[in-house]
């Protein structure tokens, strides 16, 4: 996978960035060198592995799902402190 001019333009559009011409030329070479490192993971067999979003198991503490409805039909929730 290589990053060419078209792809770089699309990425910058998504990222709300505008590169100068010299940044564009400089970045293409640098980014593709880094991409060679990224592509290493393609060789790993992850067939039966689920993705993880955190390195440890997290048990989320949740408050009770209650809210008070006020007169005009809106729910009032607790203020974020």
């Amino acid at each position: 996978m290589k990053i060419d001019d078209n792809l770089l333009n699309q990425i910058c559009k998504n990222a709300r960035l505008k590169l100068t011409e010299s940044e564009n030329n400089e970045f293409k070479i640098q980014l593709n060198e880094i991409m060679d490192m990224f592509n290493l993971i393609c060789e790993v067999d992850t067939n039966k592995i689920n993705p993880i979003y955190h390195p440890i198991d997290l048990n989320y503490e949740l408050r009770e799902d209650i809210a008070n409805e006020n007169k005009v039909g809106f729910f009032i929730g607790p203020k974020i402190k």
Binding site: A15, F27, I41, I52
Partner: protein
Amino acid sequence: MKEVIQEIENINNSFNYLVETIPIDENYDGDFITISIKDAILIKNSQARSSSKILNNYFPVNDSKVIKNTKDYFKNKNIKPIFIGKTIHDEFGFGGYNVNVGIDKKIPKNPYDDKRSCGGSSGGCAGFTAKTKFRHISIAESTGGSISTPASFCGVYGLTPTYGLISRDGLISYANSLDKIGIMAKDILDIAVGLEMIDGYDLNDCTNVKHENKNYVDLLNDDTKYKNNTIKIGLINLDENNQINNNVKDKIDQLKNNLDKSNIKVEIETVDISFINKYSLPVYYILSLSEASTNLSKLCGLRYGVQNIPTNLNYNDYFIKIRSENFSKETKRRIILGTFARMASYRDAYMNKAMRVRKLIIDKYLEIFNNFDFLIGPSTPTIAPLIDEIKNISPYEEMLADTYCCCPNLAGLPHISIPSGKDNNMPTGMMIISNHFTEDKLLWLSNKIK
């Protein structure tokens, strides 16, 4: 306190460790401990720029949780915490050498050789801790090695706790599944004090694991748990001759002698972590940059920091202008890579794939920790490089600075870098890694290395 104030000014004029000083009451004459704070961590009434230009003039309205915990910790003690300033680091944490500071910021200099790097990203924390003659704790942060690398380069202790132990509330995020607030200090006692002071469960941080605070200071010298057991140590990151480097070897010999004096047995053997070493760096960068590019999307001149009054620009063009003019090159590069890795057409091949490989890496570590108590190796592959040399290397080569440190960071494992002598008159560090939530054990072992 006048001496403290003068020292801060002198150090900063020569080494550029602080982006901002915090006013100190010069009439206070009781016991104190000075505390510096990485710029990405919020303290009320001080700018929080994450060493960037785009966040100039952003003043937080609240303290971060670690600052609140610190203030509470010292309330009933006979020693006062003196917050002295916000330390410089690579912009948003993006770097291993602390040379990627914001466009309008100065690069900090190594305390042992002012032509060399402090290491990053928490270079200011490490440099100031090494240089000050007063008792000092620095509150730092690590995503992929930003505590261990500068601690090693500057000759100080640097602890990165387990992911999820310390609240991230009030930390300007680099990568939410990787960021960990930690401590730097000149000795292991102050590392233990530092960990106690920042610790404290936080309901507001859904990634903070519920736990009871431990008395890390008291546990430093408590041998009871280990007396009738054998401590098993695995050696990692050997040199090209498959040998542990001499500085690390000397420290391990010290450790063996001290454990022997306490009648504690130790077994040491080498451990193969080639899979972990090979794939940690690409996985770390794919995931951290994907998360970072999302986090930085909120910096667009609308709510935080630098703002212009647009007269003829639509919102999109305004956001593009603010971001393009105020992010450094390194930040732009990383945003581009992160945006790419999570784009619809490429997400499966990169971001999602990396999350699966991360699972494999963590499983390998957990398997190792079924048989070993600790892993030990050098913190970094080299000593601090010359700043001029870093300017000539490619961004990819700069990423290689994280080769050793990114591995335990990716797995969320606690690890500490301790000073391990010198090489060419520059400090070196030895890294000790232990299993999740075993900081007491990690500090206990580190205390045995003297």
